[in-house]
């Protein structure tokens, strides 16, 4: 579904991604692991066309998408739950969700109502707060809103950048349960995480990024059992 082939990305003269190749197949949850500044978020931004790769190709459902404008890529069915949530703080919860459905303005009203209902069912708290400004929500609620907003686009591929960051442990489990549920409803997911154990526990496959290079990729189960991964990301010596 999504395929990166030998992608290089630079910030000015600074190389961030070096010959990154990865693939996400339809129906999978793929997990991208890596420490700070390893290039995880840049990979997301490259896929979405927020930054342009300097070499290599990005393909989505068989078409090259590198070089397309971000909004065009979004219209093809890729959504993002960004790092640090980045909800629209000065808009209400309802307005945030309706922005999420921006690319589906021509969808029948009933379909949109269904999608709102789906978000309200996943996150009952959001329904209670639908008229509140996004900025007044707690961190956990904002994360729910960010996920809900991305779902409103009915993406075929959902990118999630550190969905567990800054959340209490209880909420982390809840968020990952929801990720699994979303995947079960037919959305393919690429998730970037620092919290490797939880992420790998729900993923099909995983890639490890280090200094902008993919150093390991394997099934999630194998990665969980790999010594170097355990040492680097699971906090074990």
């Amino acid at each position: 579904m999504l395929k990166l082939t030998d992608v290089d990305t630079h910030y000015g003269p600074l190389p961030v991604l070096k010959s990154v190749s990865l693939e996400v197949r339809t129906g999978e949850i793929v997990c991208l692991l890596g420490g700070n500044a390893s290039g995880k978020s840049t990979t997301m931004k490259t896929i979405l066309g927020v930054v342009r790769p300097t070499a290599g190709r990005v393909e989505f459902e068989g078409d090259r998408i590198d070089g397309l404008a971000t909004e065009v890529i979004a219209r093809r069915g890729i959504s993002l739950v960004p790092e640090a949530r980045r909800i629209f703080a000065r808009m209400t919860v309802w307005e945030n969700l309706s922005m999420g459905a921006f690319i589906r303005q021509k969808a029948p009203a009933g379909e949109l109502a269904q999608d709102f209902e789906r978000v309200w069912t996943l996150f009952p708290r959001l329904r209670e707060r639908q008229h509140q400004l996004g900025g007044t929500l707690s961190g956990g609620e904002q994360q729910m809103l960010a996920i809900g907003r991305a779902l409103m686009a009915r993406p075929r591929l959902l990118l999630m950048d550190e969905p567990s960051m800054g959340l209490a442990p209880v909420l982390v489990d809840q968020v990952f349960d929801i990720i699994q549920a979303i995947n079960g409803q037919g959305t393919t997911i690429l998730v970037v995480e620092q919290n490797a154990p939880v992420a790998l526990s729900i993923a099909t496959r995983g890639y490890v990024l280090q200094n902008g290079r993919i150093v390991i990729h394997d099934t999630a189960r194998t990665l969980l059992a790999t010594d170097s991964v355990r040492r680097a990301y699971l906090g074990e010596d």
Binding site: A69, E71, A74, F88, E95, S98, M99
Partner: protein, 313 residues
């Protein structure tokens, strides 16, 4: 003193008219600032050009001798071309004077200086093509001088009421557009987080261009109304009016649409009161002293929110 009280209601209505027009022009500054964080210093010239387009329509109608002119159809006929022309001009400015700069990552100072250049260019373009002498709006043919109504002992000219109503309706329309429609939501989304808006599928450049169109069109409408009221226009009129409207925008909190309307209203009322109670020469002094006082107490303006407070959420 009794004399002063007798004209007070009239002055208040006048202040209201002036205030709504300031608000209308201030919206152009605040909308552009909200979305690009730049002050469009050429907005005063857009306002001035709106006044010229309105003047031309009126002049052509008079030349064509279409008979009796009634504001009910002449005013829309003046406003519409003025708004379309200035709106398109605003889009052109954004496309050719600002976008090349901000797209290439110039500092905020780049587009700002380009705006000052555009302002000088537009002033001179109008001076060259329309002449340096002022033009006179034949307002009395549209709104006869004795066309006044009595409200609570005050005699108010119909023109002033029309100004308040037209400017008020436009502001209300803009408010509804920004708050209730998908287009309005995408404008607010781009203002808040351009990158996320693009990720939602919003065409950011188009939204920025539309914002320039709307802000400039409102400024152009303001030009027509002010032209009708003061009856004299010249190529330099945008300078002081622009400065006033900019003051109104800062007073209300730049970047905040309701703030621009409120700031305009307050500025207009304060000015008209200053003229009532003091030597009219001091009216600008009063306006700017008010601005300084508000900024000392609330540096972000009346309805503005500080960036740091928002970042802390």
């Amino acid at each position: 003193m009794a004399d002063v009280l007798a004209i007070l209601p009239q002055q208040l209505v006048f202040g209201l008219a002036l205030g709504t027009v300031y608000g209308l022009v201030a919206l152009g500054y605040t909308m552009v600032y909200g979305i690009l964080f730049m002050i469009n210093f050429a907005h005063g010239e857009i306002f001035m050009i709106g006044a010229y387009v309105g003047w031309w329509v009126l002049a052509l109608l008079l030349q064509a001798q279409v008979g009796a002119l009634h504001p009910a159809w002449v005013l829309p006929l003046m406003l519409l071309p003025a708004m379309l022309f200035t709106g398109a001009l605003g889009v052109g400015l954004e496309r050719f004077a600002y976008r090349p700069l901000y797209l290439r990552g110039a500092t905020r100072l780049g587009p700002l200086i380009s705006a000052i250049g555009a302002s000088i260019f537009l002033q001179n373009a109008v001076m060259l093509t329309q002449g340096a002498r002022m033009k006179v709006y034949m307002t009395s043919l549209l709104f006869p001088r004795d066309w006044r109504i009595q409200v609570a002992g005050a005699s108010i000219s119909v023109l002033v009421i029309v100004m308040v109503v037209v400017a008020g309706l436009m502001m209300w329309g803009l408010h509804l557009l920004v708050q209730r429609t998908t287009l309005g939501r995408s404008i607010r989304a781009v203002a808040e987080d351009r990158e996320m808006a693009a990720i939602m599928g919003v065409n950011v450049r188009r939204v920025i261009a539309l914002t320039f169109f709307m802000g400039s069109a409102l400024g152009g409408a303001g030009g027509v109304l002010v032209g009708l009221y003061y009856t004299q226009i010249d190529f330099f009129m945008g300078y002081s009016a622009g400065l006033k409207a900019f003051t109104a925008a800062v007073l209300g909190g730049i970047g905040n649409i309701r703030g621009a309307m409120l700031g305009g209203l307050i500025l207009g009322l304060v000015e008209s009161l200053a003229v009532t109670f003091m030597n009219p020469a001091y009216k600008d002094v009063v306006a700017f002293v008010l601005l300084i006082l508000v900024l000392v107490i609330r540096p972000t303006g009346l309805l503005g929110e500080s960036m740091t407070a928002r970042a802390k959420v």
